[in-house]
Symmetry: C2
Subunit: 429 residues, 2 copies
């Protein structure tokens, strides 16, 4: 391996709050046959990097930060030369020189069930247990299960001819966390059985085709167009919320549904403006109505757009109790709350009576990024105006060099809310 | 209408705790064109009748009790003679003389979405706002949307020849509440997208066919037989819990899955014995393993049967915080808690961090009984040994005459936990 016995630059976090050090450390080596070593091209700075930076997640041993990267494979363990039958496909196909992105956690991928965010072998990059991506090189455990290879040919989909679109490395980094997480928030709502009445135009329950249950005769009741309007709310329009909004519009477009409404909610005017810019870039949504509103306006607009019933589903992206309470207020009976925010409040704001009385369904938790990659990549490619650096609709604010002054300045500004999404570009070695 | 201007016997509840009066009251009359008058054959005594009886639900005006009935239509409003186009089918087809059951709530049925338990026009039978079924006659509002007609020909399913099975009126009363509620608890688990990996043998997410979403090439990963084992728990083996267990076994059988396990949990030894009797009557479940266990044994058995992962879904039938906490303990990451119990505790026992950390999905609430009827009727007919009066596996303990001494005795015994499910047989007038 070319990079062995060398040193590299890495950003390390120390136990005292705000103590970051830009250090020279050994380039990581393969320590297990399933490992890959990846040369980092770009690393992202994410809101969750700030928790430990602020001292909110105490730890003892300094570690390399970061969990978003796009890079090039420079070293592969023995498993990639002698892949056993039945192992994840990349053990047979991944090569040195391939461009890859990684989810923010590792996962073994052996069981194929796809709940990768909660794999027993899962580790978080940029944590005391696994060095992170804000470095020139990174070791990826269970790399055949963890990594996603970026196809480099013109036709990324393999089946139909598509326009030649070059995806920027900067956009690819959004695959590490925020685009799949937003997509997952939308998908958990869209695919929920309580919304099937509108897509299938059949009375609840719409038994999924994967369960061969019986239905007695004379009861295949049609839901009429006028009753099949789906109303959604997206609560929180930060970067993940915007990805959720974009994904929801995309999924509804693909579903062929034109009878829908979306209420996008944030108290912050600048975020609402950004959301409007992105919706404008997305273009028309035939038949659908999308409104970007403040917290105060959300309940009234939701009622208006749903004929007084409330929303079929709320995508709760914020991760606090007031967002959950708003979501509960907005949903209709039998509504779905899809929550991808990290909740830390010790008390839940809804009790069993509230959930029972409105027949609420909740879907909570961390996105299984590795499983969502294949669903996001075309969306990412087709919207390079949005998943890009700068511009009115661009989700990434800027790219700065990976040097001591630039990264410390970026952390400080980001921590103070003075800049948006920042990426670090690694120096070539 | 034959019964007009006559009086009938009715059981009325008065505001003082335990004050029941057996009275002679006017036979109800049609007050709206959508009404039906039903002559009650059998009425059920349900656990939720006891809440008001015990004084736990204060009220001012005495009312006729009961929300479970099977009966014969004796009067129909004008809507049944001149049904407008697009109205629920029964407005065109229901006749005087038809045998019917009713859900425990009315629902208009006009929207066809099927969330009937939370219809805006829904009223609970046997409440201050709507006289109940423990009477010789009952008025059913929105009757074309509310009632379910019991087919009286030999072939209840209409399509395939089935064995001639005469359903008993006693068994039909289980359709009013407990069988659909148990079935709904099972269905909410079975049809959840987080269980689709096992039925469809595909990596999560399995996009439902009603959403025409795309999947990029090269990622249609198969889930192997060894990873596709579904493990369920049913927490609470009272009458509804037993119906949930029976429904779950039925649905898994229909799905063709043989790679499953069910852990049936109750602290009460007599209830566990009843569950064992019913499982014995149900017969073999090819490939499936079913264990009936105590609270203490539930976590260990669940782990053993799931290779240490925990349950894919828990059917929580009890409706209290300790049952919810046990459900949380039993599920695997990305597991589903289907809860149909009535929860009254002011504090929820799980917080956002707990739900996030295990990627929990919850489905809460009251069964939309009217929408579940068509799925239950064949199950009811095919298992008359279980959905019957008496016997080791019978879900109904006894039928007593609807007279003052018998009904008061039944309430007292039921309230003291000294008898199981009791039905009242109405005198012919």
């Amino acid at each position: 391996m070319a990079a062995q016995n060398k040193t590299m630059s890495a950003l390390k976090l120390y136990p005292d709050p705000l103590e970051l050090r830009f250090e020279s450390v050994p380039v990581p080596e393969i320590t297990h046959p399933d490992d890959a070593i990846v040369k980092v091209l770009l690393a992202g700075l994410c809101g969750s990097d700030l928790h430990a930076y602020r001292g909110l997640e105490p730890f003892d041993t300094p570690y390399t930060t970061g969990h978003e990267l796009v890079g090039i494979v420079v070293g592969l363990g023995e498993s990639f030369r002698n892949a056993a039958a039945g192992r994840p496909e990349l053990y047979s196909t991944l090569k040195v020189g391939d461009k890859v992105v990684s989810p923010f956690t590792s996962s073994c991928g052996e069981c194929r069930i796809g709940f990768t965010a909660r794999c027993d072998h899962s580790l978080l990059f940029g944590s005391p247990r696994l060095p992170g991506a804000q470095a020139q090189y990174i070791r990826v455990p269970h790399a055949g299960g963890t990594l996603f290879r970026i196809p480099q040919d013109d036709n990324i989909l393999g089946s139909e001819p598509v326009a030649r679109i070059r995806t920027s490395d900067a956009s690819l980094i959004l695959l590490a966390d925020i685009l799949p997480t937003g997509y997952f928030a939308a998908l958990q709502a869209i695919q929920h059985p309580n919304l099937a009445y509108a897509f299938a135009r059949k009375t609840f329950p719409v038994i999924p085709s994967f369960v061969n249950a019986f239905v007695t005769g004379g009861e295949s009741v049609k839901v009429q167009e006028s009753d099949a309007k789906l109303v959604f709310a997206v609560v929180g329009l930060g970067p993940v919320g915007l990805c959720a909004l974009i994904s929801l519009v995309e999924l509804l477009g693909l579903s062929g549904t034109s009878n829908f409404a979306i209420v996008a909610v944030d108290p912050n005017g600048a975020r609402r403006t950004k959301a409007e810019e992105i919706l404008s870039a997305l273009g028309s949504t035939p038949g659908g109505v999308i409104r970007v509103v403040s917290l105060e306006d959300a309940p009234g607009v939701s009622k208006d757009l749903s004929g007084g019933l409330g929303c079929d589903a709320v995508l709760e992206i914020v991760g606090n109790n007031s967002a959950l309470q708003l979501a509960y207020e907005l949903i209709r009976p039998f509504g779905v709350i899809s929550s991808v925010g990290v909740h830390t409040h010790p008390q839940f704001p809804l009790n069993g009576d509230a959930l029972y009385s409105k027949n609420v369904s909740l879907a909570f938790g961390r996105c299984p990024v590795r499983s969502i990659f294949p669903y996001c990549i075309e969306l990412l490619m087709s919207r390079q105006d949005i998943f890009s650096v700068g511009g009115a609709a661009g989700l990434i604010e800027k790219i700065v060099p990976f040097d001591e002054d630039s990264v410390k300045e970026a952390y400080r500004m980001f921590n103070e809310g003075k800049c948006g999404k920042v990426l670090f570009r690694m120096a070539s070695d």
